[in-house]
Point group: C3
């Protein structure tokens, strides 16, 4: 792709050599000839060997390249062009002879089915989807179009995936939720007979678990992105365009509304509600039933970031506070001594 | 099943239409005709379309249904009848032709062996157990009767599972523990040659790891339930009827006695002991060697819940405390001024 | 092996019966005839049935055995001899007929390829490596010599493993990193086209995830040991001989230098740097961009252990501090009363 074509694709302004050929993308710091890189801030001084740089508009540049493309959001522009220059490897449709596909499963057009894949009775796989090696799809599962189900993913009976869903290796969708009722002798399993619904354009990271609803459904909304090793318990409802970083755990029936951003290793008690647009910092803890309003939240139990910082500063100054107290006692003792005279 | 039969099965009292047919269970809020639901508290006002409701006895009802069953513990009764109305799918005995079973493994009666399953030399699978697709069973493993080993589970060499054990997808039983001895050049592996013993009626959630003992065994006691993504290190001993929520991590040689309840994302240092009946809140941290007595514990390092709450309240009031201090200083200064006059 | 041979192998001093036969290793407390055990401190009073004990030199012994070996570091000596007495099961070279190996993959001498293994186009497997059942190796992967890739591991396209690497079951190497750019409608995937490099003698625990670099590489240095369920994000660089306990999460581009020791459930923000030799306690939290110097660190946000302990003590004494404050107010009130007279 020529630099000029890239600029056109991005509807962005080009200066310099529009004919220069771009083959791949790279970090500005390591890019070499034939590569495209980006700078987020013009102050990012960098020596780059890139043939083309995407930079913010109207600002003095500290790096140069044969071709310069101005874009309001260089990183976004870079991500878009990278997807074009490095399309994911598309596997051709077809079924590996080792795969074990139920005769009454409905397999769409151009579906790739790798080695050692299983698809159970009554399941349906949409056009252009890839079930990579070792992916296990249970009975009565519906997977939409153009999904990529990576090696060794498990999608259990009855679960529903939309279009353009990506499940990375080791993901388990639809294992039983964790629900028991105590009786005299031990624990009786509460029914775990619901399903998981994963809407369109969701991406779920490696070894993440999304449990089926106990009675109803567990739902991941459209465009939501979940990182690795996350736990999503039964009957959780996650809205659209939510981002959840690695190792966060969400207990049963908690609701995370649209456009929330959740850090890593956050813990949510059950039946909490996170209102649309809230941002929760890593390692925070949300108590059961808590309602988290929009804003930035931090700590355990979660509190507004400002409050968290203030509290932290108070705790940090406890040593000084104790000294002040001792000094006060000294002065007080002196006054008392005087008054007794 | 008729409402009357359900009441009989539960040895509970029925009022209303005993002949009404019940086909499935549901949440009271979403139940429709032919469904059974439950209310835990009579105050749970709900409009329900359920044909039959299980409710606590002797209390005014805020919801109605054609048939009403009174039970001391409605949720428990509901779980019991749900297990009857929604029995788990039993797979018929038989071995998928693709499975790779050692000729000297001993496979019981009515064992289901799915596609791409491996069973190693000298292993033994009890009657009625299901090894679902992609389950990997090593050498000299013993799995009891009526177990369900879900897709892509790994049970490593020498490990022992009792009867009625459920391992959800991605569980790894018997990987090497994490033990090394530092020498001049790096780390030398400490032997990890023990085993894992999982007793009867244990259920282990998706992607949870239970490491083998270094020299002895790691043991999960009868009736214990472990959620997803939990880490159980080498030589840990977990008692009977323990419940452990998701993403908790238990370091080497720690003991959790019978009937403990452990929240999610709790961390246990090594060689800790949690006494029978203790309850530990989510995200708590237990220091190595700590002995946790019965009671409710919270925070890092764990402390009794009351203390934790009091401490938290103190920290929350630090702002006010600082103001008090300033006020005291002001008054003190005034007194000092007066006394100097 | 005779006790004498063991002493010779360890270049250690033997007293007692050098001819006694040792067949296996065990804990001192449970060892029986024919077994070797060790004591780390001479004060470890123990009744042992071991035939041979490794003990620290020149100190009065509280346990006895037919043969006693003195070693400066008994645990290290024990680990060394255990590796000799209990060599890991070596699987003979050969390919299971069910395995799905690309015709242009290069497979070394004596490579074991288990059932249902996949190796993709252009990949290379070094001599003596074991790919156990269900291991999934993508395209253009390079795995060195004598590695053990346990059942159901996934190594994605383009990733590089050195020699003597051990990956436990469920490990995912090279899934896409978690990187998106927000635009008006949702999240655009940032390119995840880098690789993972795992150097020699690295061991990675069950269900741990190491994401590929976004543009460059994610690297795990030589001799580093990582426990189960750890998250290593894109472009993280971990040095040599680093130890990381279970369930720790490391965000993008963070650097952990050589010889660090990281506890379990630690969270690292992105772009942090942990300097060589730092020790970070379990459940600690490291803020994005933080530089952690050598020393022992604890808490969230991390602080030097001493400071953490002092702070903790201060918080613990807040109840007393409030009482002191009330007492001061009382005395102050009295003085004020007096001065008003």
């Amino acid at each position: 792709m020529k630099a000029r074509e890239i600029a056109e694709f991005l509807s962005a302004e080009l200066s310099g050599d529009g004919d220069i050929e771009i083959e791949s993308v790279a970090d500005a710091a390591t890019a070499t000839a034939g590569q495209l890189a980006f700078l987020e801030r013009p102050a990012d001084a960098v020596e780059t060997g890139a043939s083309c740089l995407i930079v913010p508009p109207n600002l003095p540049l500290t790096a140069s390249a044969p071709a310069i493309i101005s874009a309001e959001e260089p990183k976004l522009a870079f991500a878009r062009i990278a997807a074009k220059l490095h399309p994911r490897k598309m596997r051709e449709g077809g079924k590996h002879p080792s795969a074990n596909i139920s005769p009454d499963a409905r397999i769409g057009e151009g579906v790739f089915i790798g080695a050692f894949v299983c698809v159970g009775d009554g399941s349906e796989i949409g056009d252009g989807t890839e079930l990579r090696a070792g992916a296990m799809v249970g009975d009565n599962v519906r997977i939409g179009m153009r999904c990529v189900i990576h090696p060794n993913v498990v999608v259990c009976d009855g679960c529903l995936l939309g279009d353009d869903v990506i499940l990375h290796s080791g993901v388990v969708i639809g294992a039983d939720g964790f629900g028991y009722v105590r009786d005299r002798d031990g624990y009786v399993k509460f029914p775990q007979i619901g399903i998981v619904v994963v809407e369109d354009h969701v991406e779920i990271g490696a070894n993440t678990c999304v449990d089926r609803g106990a009675l109803g459904e567990t739902r991941i909304g459209e465009g939501t992105k979940i990182d690795n090793l996350v736990q999503v318990a039964h009957n959780v409802r996650i809205g659209k365009r939510v981002v959840i970083a690695a190792q966060t755990g969400i207990s049963g029936s908690t609701v995370i509304e649209d456009d929330c951003v959740i850090g890593g290793q956050v813990g949510f008690g059950d039946h909490a509600v996170v209102k649309s647009g809230a941002v929760i910092g890593s390692q925070a803890g949300v108590l059961p039933g808590k309602i988290v309003r929009p804003g930035v939240w931090w700590g355990t139990p979660v509190q507004p970031l400002d409050e968290y910082k203030r509290q932290n500063a108070y705790v940090k100054s406890l040593g000084r506070l104790r000294e002040t107290l001792r000094e006060i006692e000294r002065r007080l003792g002196e006054l008392e001594g005087n008054s007794r005279k």
